[in-house]
């Protein structure tokens, strides 16, 4: 266990050069304990992880060691004796060259940090050159940076990978003294974190003298995060020292005590609109967080329509045009906005103005996530952040209640450290070969020093190298087309310059959904149909997922960029829409949030339900609802799975309440439906939300359960994750999407083809077809294994489903009811909103064909 600081260094003043003490004093500040603690760590020559809430001066803390070390000119540093140097105590042997590398998850953040650093550097007159390098940096400057590196370079994980894949990486990085990894908690949860860890492993080899500083919000397992920062020796664990900043005032969080009737379902929180509006009016600047883009659109539109006071309210989400987003951010910094409706697009980033209230609409999903959002209000450490949670339905009241309790206990639920993905490794291996030829043995040891890859087996590594070389196929026909080849000494080298070029164009792990540009044009009115006469051009509103547009037919209305629009037509990658006059869009487009309810909050919700005494803390409407449930059916116990069955309108329903989040529930619904089909219960469809799954069909489910023709223990047996899952995966669109992402990240197929700019509408081949063929002919191929591993924690949430099925074994309680229960109402109301029986092609096609017959036969 690494030492947990905070002991405040005995003589803080001696850690900082006079110039710095004077600078702090001039601003009326004094350095914070954790800022000094990081200097102390630098003096001890140790890597460190700083865990601090927003507003704690984290970034300055991360850069102080660098600023101090570089505060004397390079010449002086090199020439003088050690004693004459102002330094952190380490031997400073710098012949110029790059001193500090800073990595941020957002390129906008890197740019902002550079701006923020300029101030102390200028005010103290420090001889330090700071530059950024992002995808937007001009080629000329990038080339100059490689030859004449600045002292401090601020960049992103992708740019780091690119730099490492160049021939001059050893020259560029051998001088490196520090690396600062910002927002580390956010980086490590994704494949970008895997890529970064591999880049870090390489840096440690090029610059063993380097020390790492990680900056993170509070996480559940800081020890794991601390491992990420330092090379893992073979067979044991190593970790950076941990510095935990204290002193943050606990946030003041309350749930909106609505005067209105609480909705049974839905996510719009429309009932609370006037109250949300009042909150914005009563505060200086309010951030209103919602979980999805479409919720943001809807809320913004509704707030605007009731904005009689003309409050400056803006909209911010990831699909909006970048220029528009920047405009909102600038207006916010300048204090010109009273409210911003936003999604996770504002979860990270530097401080924007004086936010004094955070409103979180809908489900908090996880306690750490919510705490980070709440931290956006008031970036002054000693003052409490204020937040109001607005549940959009009754179940969300329960979730908000337990989230508030969790925050009071400062209970964190960030996910555990990832196991490094093999598709990312494949990309890295190719990148390494682009830089310099490598021996497998050496690269394997290097990769193993990255914490996410510490347990990587030699077989997996060799499979990945084989994949990078010639596709990794059992049928060895591609040797002559290999992208990397072994020379006489056994070193792997790039086969031809085109490979290098293609690597450089495809680096990175973010696979965007296929997005289409949305343009506002004038309606043609009337007819639908193919790409006909339509005024081209039109104002660019932003981008939208292709998958969403594919579900529309011309004439459908939906909300985008704050207004209801009518879908006109699609031409190549442009969606043309016109202004619609409907008040309510025809297609709701609620696609669920990106993140499911956390396991931790789910457990707390189950405990809350089970503990009748705790219901006192709930609004009266919710208490009544639960009491009624208790009277007519049952309120599930913590470890129990409640299953209800009842008839309704000539159909029979089965509803269960696992509380495991929407993703796991969708998978469960899909698998249960298959099983019920086999049991001849004639299921017609299912719908899943964060808390429950409802399945309906023609067969009398209550009767079948009563007669023992359906055995619930067998129905929910974990063996559904065997053959049933396999059969479903063969055709699952979610699985195919997962595979496509792996194929792109691993470099099997290119995001962009070198030299030819193909229009995306003329796809050369479909990864779905490749998936089908590969699955049939080499089911254990490394890419399929990678996709399976992704599915376990990603879109299908198989791991969580498996844990749940194991938990409820022998603990299923069935209630046969004559009608829908109070607890079932919310999920029943989702029917028709969420897509149903998502993947059965024939039903949908048959329906379309039937309509045609009806039309033709009159």
């Amino acid at each position: 266990m690494p030492p947990r600081i905070l002991k405040i260094p005995a003589e803080p003043a001696t850690l900082l050069p006079d110039r710095f003490n004077a600078w702090f004093a001039a601003r009326g500040w004094s350095p914070r304990a954790h800022q000094l603690a990081l200097l102390e760590k630098a003096r001890e020559d140790a890597s460190a992880l700083l865990i601090a809430p927003t507003g704690a001066g984290k970034t300055l803390a991360g850069f102080l060691p660098t600023l101090v070390e570089l505060s004397t000119p390079a010449v002086e540093r090199n020439a003088g004796s050690k004693q004459s140097l102002v330094s952190t105590g380490r031997s400073v042997q710098r012949a110029g060259g790059l001193h500090t590398l800073y990595i941020s998850p957002l390129k906008a953040l890197a740019v902002d940090i550079a701006r923020n650093l300029e101030r102390p550097i200028a005010e103290m007159g420090l001889p330090i050159k700071v530059e950024t390098r992002t995808g937007d940096t001009p080629v000329s400057r990038r080339q100059r940076q490689r030859r004449y590196p600045p002292d401090v370079l601020l960049t992103t994980p992708e740019q780091l990978a690119l730099l490492l894949s160049s021939h001059d990486a050893p020259f560029l990085f051998s001088s490196l003294k520090r690396i600062v990894l910002d927002e580390l908690h956010a980086l490590v949860t994704s494949k970008r974190g895997d890529l970064l860890s591999l880049g870090l492993a390489r840096l440690w080899r090029l610059a063993p003298q380097m020390r790492a500083i990680g900056l993170s919000a509070t996480v559940a397992e800081p020890d794991q995060l601390a491992r990420f920062l330092v090379p893992q020796p073979e067979g044991r664990e190593a970790a950076a020292d941990i510095v935990i900043a204290g002193g943050a005032a606990p946030p003041l969080v309350e749930m909106l005590d609505t005067r209105e009737r609480l909705p049974w379902a839905g996510h719009s929180a429309r009932h609370a609109l006037p109250e949300i509006y009042e909150l914005i009016k009563a505060n200086k600047t309010t951030l209103v967080f919602v979980n999805t883009r479409s919720q943001a659109e809807m809320l913004f539109q509704n707030l605007w329509s009731m904005n009689d006071d003309g409050l400056a309210i803006a909209l911010h989400h990831g699909s909006l045009d970048v220029a528009q987003r920047r405009k909102v951010e600038d207006a916010m910094s300048a204090g010109r906005l009273r409210g911003v409706v936003c999604t996770s697009s504002l979860d990270l980033g530097v401080d924007w103005g004086d936010v004094d209230l955070v409103v979180n609409i809908g489900a908090p999903k996880g306690s750490s996530r919510l705490m980070q959002r709440i931290g956006r209000a008031n970036h002054r450490l000693e003052e409490a952040s204020r937040a109001v949670l607005v549940p959009a339905n009754r179940f969300e009241v329960l979730e908000c209640r337990v989230a508030i309790d969790a925050i009071a206990e400062n209970a964190q639920d960030t996910p555990p450290l990832r196991t490094g993905a093999l598709d990312v490794l494949a990309q890295h291996v190719l990148g390494c070969a682009c830089g310099a030829p490598f021996f497998s043995d050496e690269l394997y040891s290097e990769v193993g020093t990255a914490a996410p890859y510490a347990d990587l087996s030699r077989k997996d590594f060799d499979d990945v190298v084989d994949f990078v070389a010639s596709g990794g196929y059992a049928l060895k026909t591609y040797e002559r087309f290999a992208r990397i080849k072994q020379d006489k000494e056994g070193r792997w080298r790039v086969a031809n310059p085109k490979v290098r070029q293609s690597y450089r164009m495809n680096v990175g792990t973010i696979v965007e959904d296929d997005m289409l540009k949305v343009r506002l044009v004038r309606s043609r009115g009337g007819g639908s149909g193919s790409t006909g006469v339509i005024a081209r051009g039109g104002r660019l509103l932003g981008e939208i997922e292709e998958a969403f547009i594919e579900g529309l037919t011309p004439g459908d209305t939906f909300v985008f960029s704050g207004e209801v629009v009518r879908y006109e037509t699609l031409v190549e990658d442009q969606v043309y829409v016109s202004r619609a006059h409907d008040k309510d869009p025809k297609v709701p487009s609620y696609m669920g949030g990106k993140f499911p309810l956390s396991t931790y909050l789910a457990e707390r919700v189950r405990r809350l339900l089970d503990d009748g005494r705790a219901w006192g803390g709930l609004p009266e409407q919710v208490r009544d609802w639960l009491s009624q449930q208790k009277d007519v059916s049952r309120v599930p116990a913590v470890r129990e799975l409640l299953v209800e069955s009842f008839p309704r309108a000539n159909k029979h329903y089965l509803v269960c309440y696992p509380f495991e989040g929407r993703l796991a529930h969708q998978t469960l619904g899909m698998l249960l439906t298959r099983r019920l089909e086999r049991a001849r219960a004639r299921p017609l469809g299912f719908v899943a939300n964060e808390y429950a799954v409802a399945i309906w069909g023609l067969g009398d489910l209550s009767f079948m359960i009563r007669e023992g023709r359906i055995d619930l223990n067998a129905l929910f047996d974990p063996d559904m994750l065997g053959d049933d899952l396999e059969a479903w995966l063969a055709e699952s669109a979610l699985m195919k999407r997962t595979f496509r992402n792996c194929a792109i990240i691993s470099g099997l197929i290119a995001r962009r083809h070198t030299g030819e700019e193909k229009s995306r509408r003329q796809v050369l081949f479909s990864t779905d077809l490749v998936y089908d063929v590969l699955r049939k002919h080499q089911a254990d191929h490394v890419l399929l294994r990678t996709a399976r591993a992704d599915a376990a924690t990603g879109l299908l949430d198989l791991r969580r489903l498996g844990d749940m099925l194991a938990r409820i074994q022998g603990r299923i309680t069935h209630r046969e009811l004559d009608r829908v229960s109070p607890l079932a109402v919310p999920v029943m109301l989702e029917i028709g909103r969420e897509s149903v029986y998502g993947e059965a092609a024939d039903e949908l096609l048959a329906e379309a064909a039937d309509e045609l017959v009806k039309e033709a036969m009159g």
Binding site: S470, G471, Y473, L475, T477, Y478, F481, R483, K498, V499, S502, G529, S530, T531, E550, G551, L552, T553, V587, P588, S589, E731, L748, I749, A750, V763, L764, F765, S766, L769, V770, D772, V773, L774, K776, H777, Q778, H781, S835, G838, A840, A841, D842, L844, L845, A846, E847, A848, A849, E851, L852, V853, A856
Partner: protein, 236 residues
């Protein structure tokens, strides 16, 4: 639109849908093949054999199993209908040297499929020079009764062609589904691509409007278990 095209999926064998072209009735098979019962003639189009290895030569290492997969599906549909004649309606090979990359096993498989029946390779734009060492007869087009088989559609009455790889998308209530399909208006037809890696072109593309006269055509979509006939105007 012909009445014949409307009656679909109602056959006892739901794997096929009836398609009438110039008064000849064909069975549109779920696999994407077309079967002319009286003639015991089976047509498949756009096999694109060795498309995988064709990409591999350019550094995109797609799984090298597409030829095996395509020939396997072809074997299945041949054994189901036991045709006297098989027509491969062009673009059977993805590029001009594709046949040289066929493995010995794949060549044997082709020979096995050809044994006991006539085999006609029609040339296509991908394979204008068909290999002479793979059995069968080579032709640019062939006419049987009122029907003409050629690779690239011209829109002539009685024509059965390929080349365009028709696919169609159906949407309802926020869901959508895209499948390969036959396109036919009762006078002519365009067949779906049969090859495992062959992509598709939406039937709403202008290329189809040039072939089918104004009054529309029907898309016979290849579902999971059956073929569905849907007016092209309802697809996109």
């Amino acid at each position: 639109m012909t009445a014949g095209a409307l009656v679909s999926g109602d056959d006892e064998d739901m794997r096929v849908s009836r398609v009438t072209i110039s008064d000849v009735t064909f069975a549109a098979d779920l696999s994407g093949a077309l079967f002319w019962e009286e003639q015991r003639l089976l047509v498949v189009s756009d096999l694109h054999l060795e498309k995988g290895s064709s990409f591999a030569t350019r550094g995109v290492l797609l799984p090298p199993y597409d030829t095996i997969a395509t020939l396997g599906r072809l074997a299945a549909v041949i054994s189901r209908h036991d045709p006297r004649v098989v027509i491969a309606l062009g673009d059977s090979f993805h590029d001009r040297t594709a046949h040289e990359r066929l493995s010995a096993e794949d060549r044997d498989a082709v020979a096995g499929l050809q044994s006991g029946r006539d085999w006609i390779w029609i040339s296509g734009n991908h394979d204008p020079m068909l290999p002479r060492d793979l059995g069968g007869t080579i032709a640019d087009e062939i006419a049987i009764g009122p029907i003409t088989f050629r690779h690239e559609p011209t829109g002539a009455p009685g024509e059965i062609a390929g080349h365009l790889h028709p696919k169609a998308r159906i949407s309802a209530r926020g869901r959508s589904m895209e499948r390969r399909c036959f396109a036919s208006d009762g006078m002519r037809a365009v067949m779906p691509a049969f090859g495992a890696y062959a992509g598709g072109l939406s039937i709403r593309d202008a290329a189809f409007a040039r072939i089918f006269p104004k009054n529309g055509f029907v898309a016979h979509l290849l579902g999971d278990r059956r073929v569905h006939a849907i007016a092209a105007s309802r697809c996109y």
